[in-house]
Symmetry: C2
Subunit: 291 residues, 2 copies
Amino acid sequence: MQPTDIDRIRRFHRTVTRETGVMDQSFLGRGRPLGSARVLNAIGRGMGEVAAIRDYLGLDSGLMSRLLRGLEDEGLVETTPSPDDARRRVAGLTDRGRAEFEAYENLSNTRAQRLLDHHPNRADLLAAMDLIASALGQHAVEFVECDPRAPDAVWCLGEYFGELARRFERGFEVHLSRDPEATDMIRPKGAFFVAMSDGLPIGCGGLKGHDGTWGEVKRLWVSPSARGLKLATRLMEVIEATARDLGMSVLRLDTNSQLPEAVAMYRRLGWTEIERFNDDPYPDVFFEKRL
Amino acid sequence: MQPTDIDRIRRFHRTVTRETGVMDQSFLGRGRPLGSARVLNAIGRGMGEVAAIRDYLGLDSGLMSRLLRGLEDEGLVETTPSPDDARRRVAGLTDRGRAEFEAYENLSNTRAQRLLDHHPNRADLLAAMDLIASALGQHAVEFVECDPRAPDAVWCLGEYFGELARRFERGFEVHLSRDPEATDMIRPKGAFFVAMSDGLPIGCGGLKGHDGTWGEVKRLWVSPSARGLKLATRLMEVIEATARDLGMSVLRLDTNSQLPEAVAMYRRLGWTEIERFNDDPYPDVFFEKRL
DNA sequence: CAATTTATCTGACTTCTGTCCGATAAATTA
DNA sequence: TAATTTATCGGACAGAAGTCAGATAAATTG
């Protein structure tokens, strides 16, 4: 009897549920209830605002308060009133708290490492995990505006150029392309966005400002693991909104007919094909959109 | 900054943890604590013996007893003493219990279906899930002895023949091969095993009895999603143990040089190459092992 | 400036989860 | 047959998780 698609998903789900149960057990091994451990980990991972933690973990305000107090009593956490709104509190780890957080991190990391060590095909396993994480987390993607020279942005751009090199018959050399100055993709001239899924970059897109009147969409890239989830469309929406915000009335972009998915998407999003507007050697299709 | 392998696994883990949290919430929506819901689901999925459920869910005997009683009070479950050991109790669903179980099943199924519907590439998503489920569940594989004509066995054999057809240059036609009678792979003559991972078949192997003196290993197959996890080796161990149990002193098998992984494995497991012992057109390598 | 809203805290309470121990009754062993 | 082991049950209890209503203090609004 052939397993149905649903059977396969459910088997996956059960296996993975068992796995999280095991992780929970090992967390409990540090002698702290799961609730406290989760709060500690949220703080350690950079969440400072009490409200943000509460929201992330879905906790009642009373419960949150008590868990935080417990961690304070243990000497792991300190809270201070937020500078711009003294009602809010910001939590941070003490030295002991940081050590304890690292201990939890080690538990998770060694478990991950063990899984990796016991698998014959790391690349496929990791690709499968990326694919699933993107599929499950597609509604939890954050679009973070940053400097295109920031680490996450640079990583995305590296992947982007690498992919172009693979897909273009003639290859692709970064320095051949008119690489816009990073400062053209920073406010107030332009902007650059990285799509973050649970802390990992999975896509990017830039808006390059041209002497205040028009903008150019550049470097739109989505990780292979997140393709098909309409992430590029959402990035474009963010970029268009930013362009309007910056007072631009026209957007342009160039692309290549060897990237048919991209060309199709621009058409679908209401862009119209125009004449070549630069002498860049790589693109052979040009689009424009009035805002 | 490039995400490390560990980062990627941890992201996967967090995403999937969030997902199970959502499922738990939706289960709670039926107004029953998670513990009870889990017991009900275990029973619905075929676990009858109280001890088996307790073991599967890792529950204390007292807690188990109380949860079971709660479900009985709700009229969802009935327990009867086991026929062969009246100390043990066997739990079963009442009609109302079955309806309630179906309701939980629907919650899980619709969530799975929704995920499937929202993804552009079902085949890749499912393959990724199979791969991960096999990697995580490699220590929870059960080797079930069954009739080679049973549904799970037939499905595995279909996959097996399909793969042979793809890998052999000359193609592969099932009827050309000397297809051993199913009854030769059933006790007392022989045996057939299906490797089950959480209810889904992921591999198989047969032991064909030849007039009581020697046995032949046939139809050894492992699902692509579970390759590299030493599953074939474990299947072989089960088959060899069964052969000893049936009083066989020699095992033989044939394979093909176009399946180098298989040939390498047989050597590693202590098999020695021998002369051709049948006139089957497909195999070109023959092995023997004395027990 | 008074009234209202917002973010957090506290206490009281319920339910759920997990543990321990002894009771019971059915097998198993000596 | 008596003693022991095994599987379940039930009571008592402790800690964890979650809910609710009010208290407090800092913003915000009118």
